[in-house]
Structures are given as C-alpha cells and as structure tokens.
C-alpha cells in the first residue's frame, strides 16, 4: 500500500513549519544575544548574525548583584529539590509497596496537594512569613518551593517504585537482606532514572518560580533570577541585546538539563520495556 506523493509530503512539510514555529523564539533569543547592537536595531531584521559579540553578556553579568541572584537561585533550587527527594522517597515507597489503612486517602491527598493554587495563596504566605519576621530571607522560599514540588515528586516516584518488580525485592529478602537493605541495594539503583527525571521537573519548577519571590523578597540581596530577569527590561530600557543575553543565561541551564535528562530518563526505562 503506497501513499501518494502528497500523502507522504504534507506531514513532513507541516513538521518543518511547526519546527520553525516552536524553535524560532528560542533561536531569536540566542541570535539577539550574540548580535552586535547595530544588527539588533536595524530596519530589516538580521536573521543570521554574521558578527558575534559577547558585549551583551558582559553587560548582563555586570549588572548589580547578578552573581548574588545566581547564587540565591542555585541555593534555593538545589536545597528544595534535595529535601523534596528525601521526603518523597520515603513516602513514595510506603505508598507503592506497603498495605495499610488509609493509603488511598494519602494518595488522594497528595493528588489534591499537587493542584494547590500557589499563585493565589501568595497573600497568605506573605502574612505568614512576615509574622515570622522572615521576609527577605532564602529559608521561606526554600521550604515553600520544597512543598510546591513535593506532591508531584511523591506521586511520580510512587509510579517508579511500583514499576520495579516486586520479585526482585523479594528475592533479595529471601537471600537474607532486610527490607531496608533490599530497598537500598535493589530498588534505589533501579530508581536512578526515575529520581533523575523527577528531580529535573522539580528543579525546573523551583528555578522558574516567580510570584512568591516577587511578594516575599523586596531586597536585592535575597532575590532570585526570575525576578531579576523580569525587572531587567525596566532597568535597562530598550537594551534588547542585554535583555536577551540575560534571558539566555537564565534559560541555558534548564534547556541543557531538559534536553539531556529527558532523553536519558526515557531511554533508561524504555530499554527494559522493549526487552520484555
């Protein structure tokens, strides 16, 4: 059964158009960041930058407090993800492997918690943090970010734990492992791809968070990159080169992590599925 030339052609043509549509904003960000200013403010857009300059990146990284923001973002994000993973792993194991009264209630509870409308709760969170005299501090951000990613982390890890064959764990226990040894030696290594992709999504959520830090931290010393980026344009006026350089710097870690880890995480698991 052969498809007509048209039938073979249109999916590919559509795919190319869609590819351009999805990639263009990302491409334009990088292209603008590397273009000399003269090419940015030209009457006709320069589609492919001929001269490359790092001038804009210098201006962006030279902005006040830039490295403070980078440090703050990293501390808050990494700590939130690490805490969430530890707390979630214990819970996910119980939910996936143990039978106990009220298990259903816990799962449903976390499913609901996952849908928490954080954007709408910022006023209450502001009041709580203010009453605790913790405004302009990284600690409230860290713990709230941890909470934002916790339900998702638990539910996803629960799926990954459940996917590890029960027989492997039982075999280890027959061979004399205790339950916790079986967990550490058998399940944990098999969970590596799951842990990676889960922490990746947690990392992205925390790295991107904007409304809470907008309300809580008004002092530059305690702000994070998203807030800096959103105010960058106000501070730098129509300096699109520097603004796009700033956006690029903010986006690069996530883009790399995402493209790299998404493939790893998926291939790690599907490898087993194909064999089965």
């Amino acid at each position: 059964m052969k498809r007509s030339l048209f039938g073979r052609l249109w999916p590919n043509v559509t795919a190319v158009i869609l590819f351009i549509g999805f990639v263009f904003p990302v491409y334009w960000m990088f292209a603008t960041a590397f273009k000399p200013t003269g090419d940015i403010i030209s009457e006709d857009p320069v589609w492919f930058p001929a001269d490359v300059t790092f001038e804009h990146f210098k201006r962006a990284t030279g902005a006040d407090h830039f490295w403070t923001y980078v440090g703050n973002s990293l501390i808050v994000t990494v700590c939130a993800v690490a805490f969430a993973l530890v707390v979630a792993l214990a819970g996910a194991f119980a939910l996936a492997r143990m039978r106990f009264k009220g298990r259903r209630g816990f799962v449903i509870g976390f499913m609901l918690a996952q849908m928490a409308p954080w954007e709408v709760m910022i006023i209450a969170m502001y009041m709580i943090v203010r009453d605790a005299s913790m405004l302009n501090s990284l600690l409230p951000l860290t713990v709230f970010y941890m909470m934002m990613i916790l339900p998702f982390t638990i539910l996803t890890l629960r799926g990954f734990v459940a996917a590890v064959p029960r027989e492997l764990e039982e075999a280890a226990m027959v061979d004399g492992c205790t339950r916790s040894q079986a967990f550490l030696k058998v399940i944990l290594p098999l969970l590596a791809p799951g842990l990676m992709s889960t922490s990746l999504f947690g990392f992205i959520t925390a790295w991107n968070e904007f409304p809470l830090v907008l309300v809580l931290n008004k002092e530059a010393e305690s702000q994070t990159l998203p807030l800096w980026l959103s105010s960058f344009q106000t501070a730098f006026g129509n300096d699109w080169g520097a603004t796009m350089a700033a956006s690029s710097l903010f986006a690069i870690p996530i883009l790399i992590l995402f493209v790299f880890l998404q493939r790893r995480a998926v291939s790690g698991l599907t490898a087993g599925a194909v064999k089965g």
Partner: protein, 328 residues
C-alpha cells in the same frame, strides 16, 4: 533474567493510571509483619510538610478574608475581624464578576487551542518518519523547557513596537498599519500575545505525551481492525480514540488548572494592563491585595478564585478520585 518495566510515567498525568495493575491475590502481607506503623512513619515527613506549608497558608487565606487588613493594620500588627464584609464588597462590586468572566473565557480559549493543536501535533508525530519526528520533538522540547519568565521576555522582544520581528513581518506582508504597532496598548492585542505564549509553551506537553500514549496502543488492534475492513478513519475512531480518551480528559483537566492560574505570563507581559483590562483572577487578587494593599480583600478574592477553580474542575476531579478508589 530480564527486567521488565512498565512504560515510564512521563508526567503527572499518567502516574495514576500507568501504575501496573498487579496480579491480585498475590500480595504478601508485608506491612503486618514488621510493625504496622512503619508506613505511617515513612509518610510522616511528607504529611507534616503538607499540613504546615500548604494547609496552614490555605487556612490563613480563609482567615485573612474575614479581616479588615489594610496598610494601617498591617503596620500596627492588629487583627480586625470584619465578618463577611470583604466578600460582600467583592461580590457586589462589578469588577469581580467582569474579571471572573474574563478568566473563564481566557481559560476556555487557551485550553481549546492547546488541546486541539496539541492532539493534532501528537498524531502528526506518530505519523512522521523517525528523523523528522526527532527533529520536531527537539523543537517541542526546547519550547517546553524554556523557562516562563525567559519566554515572556522573548515574546516581548518578538512583539516589540520598534524593531520587533512580528511587526516587521506584518508590515512586509502588506499590513502597513502594523509597522509600529504597540501590542501592549489594547486589551485584545495583549491577550493575543499572552495566549500565543501560553499555547506555545503548553502544546509540547500535550503533543509529546499524546505521542507516547499512541505508541502503547498494541498494533494487533489495528491489524484486527483492518481485517474487519476498517479504513483509516474507522480505525482511528474505534482504536486510537478510545485508547487516548482517558489521557485527553486528564490533560484537559490539568491544562484548565494551569491556564486558569497563569499568573506569571499575564503579569510579566503587561502587568494586567492596559488599564487593568487583562487581569485574570490570580492577577486581580495580587493587584488588589498586595498592589493596592487591601490584603483582606485580596484574600477574599483568592478564596473565591480557589472555589471557582474547584467548580471548574469538580467534574473531572470526581472521576479521578473514583478511579483512584477503584484502583487501590
């Protein structure tokens, strides 16, 4: 021995459903042997965190909504209860209803666009050759991974009044009045940019997961369908769609939640402007509460927003909870 794993749960959607349905009756009664309190102990940190960091703010929000809390009370640290005054003021005012209607329309348009385009692109992915599929996937993943604030900054540049690419293209296409158009100057054009941004960011999740879901459809089903004389369309409606339906429901539901509270996109593109005409409920709550320092009012709007969101998703929420109940 080969390790057999289920397909990876590629996101929050599948998790509940792809949990392998273990053969029943074969479960060793593990919990009982080693102390029945162990699972609770393991869950304790997570539950404590949820109560403290999610439950408490939620409760606090409700409490605040019954207080008269403005600049003065905030500075003096006094608590003035004023009953349902905030709610009365919000619900009798015209603004709240206008913003609510706007939010619902905004959500409906965005979710419809995301779901239709996302589904079509997902099906297209299934139909493409390997190389082309990977290329398109790469494009989708890049858009998906793009951090929100960075993406909204880039969109502001794309739609910039001077030197923006979009205006240049429209001008070259013969629409000369757009050459110096300011996209943030009117309600509809601002919404257009925000919608484009949201749809662009959200399609990849739907498309890639939908494509992943199509790969789990056993090819035997298609063979059987074609043996029964089903054409392309027929096998699509009788095999593909029934398989994808639960996924589509779940995704629509998630997208409704995400779009309804799309604070960041709306706020960063134009701050709810011009003239507060593009405020959706979360932005409205923020601007009334934090911006205009009517914290009590803002909290009341927030509570109402949560209730509306619950109302919008109640139907699906019931299905999910029921499904979960059956599965466990």
């Amino acid at each position: 021995m080969t390790v057999q794993t289920e397909r990876p749960p590629s996101g929050p959607v599948d998790v509940a459903k792809t949990t392998p349905s273990r053969p029943g009756g074969r479960r060793p009664a593990t919990g009982k042997r080693s102390g029945a309190f162990v699972p609770y102990l393991l869950l304790l940190p997570a539950c404590a965190a949820t109560v403290l960091l999610l439950g408490w703010p939620l409760l606090k929000d409700v409490l605040l909504s019954f207080q008269n809390l403005n600049m003065a009370q905030l500075i003096q640290h006094v608590t003035e209860w004023n009953g349902v005054e905030n709610y009365k003021q919000v619900l009798t005012g015209e603004d709240f209803w206008r913003v609510t209607l706007r939010s619902i329309l905004f959500t409906a348009v965005n979710v419809a666009l995301i779901m239709v385009a996302g589904t079509l692109i997902g099906l297209l992915l299934a139909r493409l050759g390997k190389r082309m599929r990977l290329t398109l996937m790469l494009g989708l993943v890049l858009a998906w991974a793009m951090p929100v604030v960075a993406a909204s900054t880039v969109y502001q540049w794309l739609f910039a009044q001077r030197f923006g690419v979009v205006n240049w293209v429209l001008d070259k296409l013969g629409w000369h009045s757009m050459a110096d158009y300011s996209w943030t100057s009117s309600q509809m054009s601002t919404f257009f940019v925000v919608t484009l941004l949201i749809v662009w960011m959200s399609i990849p999740f739907v498309a890639i997961n939908l494509y992943a879901a199509t790969t789990t459809i056993p090819s035997e089903l298609y063979e059987a369908a074609s043996l029964d004389g089903a054409g392309v369309w027929k096998s699509f409606t009788t095999v593909t769609m029934p398989f994808l339906r639960p996924f589509l429901y779940a995704t629509t539901f998630l997208e409704v939640i995400w779009v309804f509270k799309a604070f960041v996109q709306v706020f960063t593109i134009n701050g709810g402007g011009p003239d507060r005409l593009t405020e959706i409920l979360p932005v409205y709550a923020y601007i009334e509460g934090v911006g205009n320092q009517h914290y009590g009012m803002g909290a009341a709007i927030a509570v109402l927003t949560i209730l509306i969101l619950l109302g919008l998703t109640a139907y699906y929420l019931r299905i999910v909870l029921k499904q979960e109940e059956d599965e466990l």
